[in-house]
Amino acid sequence: MIKVANLTKRFKTVTAVEDISFNIGESEIFAFLGPNGAGKTTTIRMLSTLISPTSGQVTIDGKNPADDGDYIRSIIGLLTETPGMYEKISAYDNLDYYASFYDIPAQRRRHNIEKYLKMFDLWKRKDDPAGTYSKGMKQKLALSRALVHEPRILFLDEPTAGLDPESAHMVRQFIDSLKHENTTVFLSTHNLEEASGLSDRVCIIKKKIIRIASLAELQGSSKSKRMEIVFSDGASKFLTLLEKIKQVSSVEIRDNRAFLVVDEPHQSNPFIIRSLVEKGADILYVNEIKASLEEIYLGLIKDEETR
């Protein structure tokens, strides 16, 4: 659905995005992660035809933004990082105004406005000026605006920023449901939990792409694994033994649990467990602790900075 090849954007002497390439399939939720100034918004602007690349190619639904910008804009929805509304006109009129620029019949437009205002619990206040809405309500209104013409591709820049936990949960559930409606979602977020919960694949960017993979691939890519060993009683008496095992790169003891970082666990774990049992350990459980997306992200960003 989205193909990006060697995309670069320079603003005078500043390079915002350098030589990035990726493909996003139909109905995929693609999370775009990176620190502030990493080029996320610039990439969204290029993909949504708002600015042109310095070099490289973008193809959206088989079309080139330079030649078919109007078509591309008709099939995309955009939620910007700081979405604004016309403060003095009603929420309903705000949506109606934006929706009127798309080629959708008036009846369907009205139906969609009602659908999304009801979905985001704004229908009762549809006639109130948008300026009287809270930050969270404005965010939901902006999301409704991005959806009102039923786009096939949705660009979301921090969709749950400013939302209370209940509303954020509702928005996440809705984004997840878009998969079943054949909508492709490009999700730029700082909320790593949100990205790991929703996305099919994650792209970590810092001007250049650092990594693109599914969460499972990212978690499985490291040769070292975190392990938790639960003993029937205190674990501290096994600390010295564990520290001596060369495949164990770090150990931390908390009550009856030992947390280890183990190199090559498939080969090392049987040896570690056998050694502990031989020294009289009663082992209740051995668990693998999967790295969170946050840990992986921070690790990759740190590696990039030290490179």
């Binding site: 955009l78 509304m85 934006y98």
Partner: protein, 262 residues
Amino acid sequence: MKNSLTIFKKEIKEVIRNKNIWLPVLIVTIIFSIAMPAAMILGSNAILKDPDTVNFINRMFGDVDNPMRVLMDFMIKQLIIFLLMIPAMVPSLIAPASILMEKENNTLEPLLATPLKTPELLLGKAMTAFIPAFALSTISFLMLTLVVDVASYIKLGFAPLPTPEWLIVAFVLSPILSFILTMASVIVSSRSTDIRSAQGIGAVVIFPIYLIIGLQLAGFFMLNITYLLVGCLVLLAVCPLLLRLAVRIFDRENILTNWKMK
């Protein structure tokens, strides 16, 4: 065109709700279309008794048969020029408010992500400033005519308007000036983040208007059809340049990367 009309309709609703825009225009219209001409005509007898006024007429026009008629013609020429403040003022109040509110509210980017074409956006914004300016200035000129003719007929027995100068100012010079101010306001607004400073562009145009009136009063020249037509042609020549600049400024990438945002 449909999209430009959609923009125009939405913007006009906002202009009507914004008294900071229409109140100054209303005051200027009342002063220059109604109050000043009515006072001048109704008080014309007293004006002609003033020796300075008589001296001024003699100096400007020589020995005349009907000093009242001459004085009326002269005053009408001043009033017509005063009324040019409306086509200058209205776009310079509306266009910056319309564009800078988009910047302030962060509504431009989502708007540019719709299939709306940027020339349609420019046209919609320009119509919002130009159409009210043209409508209000035409109403002001018609109101001036009504007040001058009724008051003159009652007081002096004749109706001096319309004159050829009046027709040129009302229907040629005034729309040209509105167009120039609309485009200039669009250009200035793209580089500004402050509504009041962007609205100051109107004041730049009001200065030459006062200068023309001052030069007429000082007797340096008298506005006639030739001067007006030459002025119209000069201003007309400026229009395509400003239009080209405004179109260049109203480009998606330019708006998002070069416009000064809050």
